[in-house]
């Protein structure tokens, strides 16, 4: 399988993804699943700026991602699939039945959320959604950078 990381991170493409994970994994492509960015060439240019030319960036809508996931999994290069929220990756998991593990990499404070880890803030509904994914067989852990230990779901929900 060539998607090495299915990550939820509300900062989308940023240093932890490109450098922190991208370097040790020797990533060849990043799939950004985000309906807003997918609809905006200007936003896409903005996110491409932070990625070295040897790494391809693919922008996909939530619906498109489910259809193209088998293609990305067959890719001989190592890839990272990124979504900005739990809902998007949960939809991808439900629609594709191909997501076996999820890395919670960064969900930050907003009204209605409480701190679960330094880099993970969740509402009760979001925590319940992650537990629902786990009950469906998806391995959910939190880990901001690869040098940190993954935190099991039960420790932050």
């Amino acid at each position: 399988m060539s998607i090495a990381l299915y990550r939820i991170d509300d900062r989308l493409i940023h240093g932890q993804v490109v450098v922190g994970w991208g370097k040790p994994l020797n990533v060849g492509f990043i799939v950004l699943v985000d309906d807003t960015v997918w609809a905006s060439p200007w936003e896409q240019d903005l996110y491409r700026m932070g990625v070295p030319p040897e790494i391809e960036v693919v922008f996909a809508s939530t619906a498109e991602a489910a259809a193209r996931l088998p293609e990305w999994e067959r890719d001989p290069r190592v890839g990272i699939l990124l979504a900005g929220d739990i809902e998007t990756l949960a939809a991808l998991s439900t629609n594709s039945h191909r997501v076996s593990r999820i890395n919670v990499g960064g969900i930050h404070h907003r009204p209605g959320r409480s701190e679960r880890l330094r880099y993970v803030y969740l509402s009760d509904a979001e925590a319940a959604k992650l537990k629902e994914l786990a009950a469906q067989g998806v391995a959910v852990t939190a880990q901001d950078v690869p040098t940190a230990a993954p935190v099991p779901l039960k420790e932050f929900t």
Partner: protein, 126 residues
Amino acid sequence: MSDPLRGVIVTHAAVAQALLAAVAAITGVSDALVPVSNDGCDSGALTERLMRAIGGRPAVLFVDLPGGSCLTTSVRLAKGATDVAVVTGVNLAMLLDFVFHRELAPADAARRAADAGSKAIRTPAA
């Protein structure tokens, strides 16, 4: 006469605070720059921090990396604004130049600072 430009240093962790302290130590100027860290922020929270730092004045945003959340948030904020410009790859040399040229228009000050910062990157013979 209009207000002098404000410089906002936008970085990961505490780089911005450290650069601000270095500029003040070297120049004695302590009111030209405002540090902003992206620690604990999604783009909405970082936008709020940047808005507070800019304070409605003409400004140049000095961003650490040419990509990532500091840049994407800064560029989104500056999009369509004529009085906010963005420079990436912030270093001490560009900030030292900036604090003495705050009478320029934001875009001109940004270009000047980028030039000063670039010229400071060298590989001197040992």
